[in-house]
């Protein structure tokens, strides 16, 4: 089981995490022989800023604060598509929003834990889930290609019961 949950739910060095993610992204782009342009990198950074997913127009607003020229929707969406295709970013369909992937270029379950209170999203990957879904779909003759699993609930920080004790 692979997850960034601990990281998301506990205090951590956000700058270090972000730098690591960007560095990894550069490697992945280099390997794929594609370019991580300034706009693309800026958007990826925003999607790693916090652990809340951001919508396209929210990204646009944030970019406006940094850049001089306002960036129009098509550019935003193109950059998002680029990042998603590379596996660096995921789309959270139920929120029409996007978030950085904590473990790109590895096996995936695409399981997202969405906190209904603070909106943080943590990701999990677990082979057992993939195996089970594979078995279930096999049984009815459905050939499974990909999946997205969106879980709604409360993160440890928002759960009244409480977290560490």
């Amino acid at each position: 089981m692979l997850t960034n949950a601990r990281l998301v739910y506990q205090p951590h060095d956000q700058v270090r995490i972000l730098n690591a993610a960007i560095s990894r992204a550069h490697d992945i782009c280099e390997a794929a022989n594609v370019r991580l342009t300034p706009t693309r990198e800026a958007i990826l950074k925003l999607l790693w800023q916090g652990h809340q997913p951001m919508g396209a127009y929210q990204l646009q607003q944030q970019l406006a604060k940094v850049s001089e020229k306002p960036i129009a929707p098509p550019t935003i969406y193109r950059a998002i598509e680029f990042l998603i295709d590379l596996g660096l970013v995921h789309r959270i369909h139920s929120l029409n929003a996007y978030i950085g992937c904590p473990f790109p270029s590895s096996e995936h379950s695409n399981i997202f834990m969405i906190c209904e209170k603070c909106n943080t999203v943590a990701e999990v990957s677990d082979k057992r889930v993939n195996n089970l879904l594979e078995a279930i779909t096999d049984k009815v003759g459905f050939k499974l290609h990909s999946q997205t699993i969106e879980l709604f609930g409360l993160c440890p920080n928002c759960e009244p019961g409480d977290s560490d004790e």
Copy 2:
């Protein structure tokens, strides 16, 4: 494991299925002491017409063919919300579309098998999936409330390999 896959993927008496679904809906509404108004029923019927999900504006167009007065988006969305709240209809987030639930008012996994070729959607419910996701989220302290699982691939009728033999 509960599924309407066989039904969806094989020829069947569509009229009988639809009537059964509507009849069941009437029961559920009566039990909940809410009204299945003509508009709501018409929309539910459309969402049971085939096994393809329909978008809000697609529903609007279809309703226009039946009804005399065109029905505006708010009414459509209200009816959809009503049906979803009752568990009679699901939203397929990745498609911005809606589909009738084959087994309302029972335990749910909300697993949708979406055919990338013919767009049919079949639903599955499997306690093991819920248990596994519960276990996974428990481990990281996330309190799971609800979920939606969207699977993409090819239904038996669209898979080149083939179905029955």
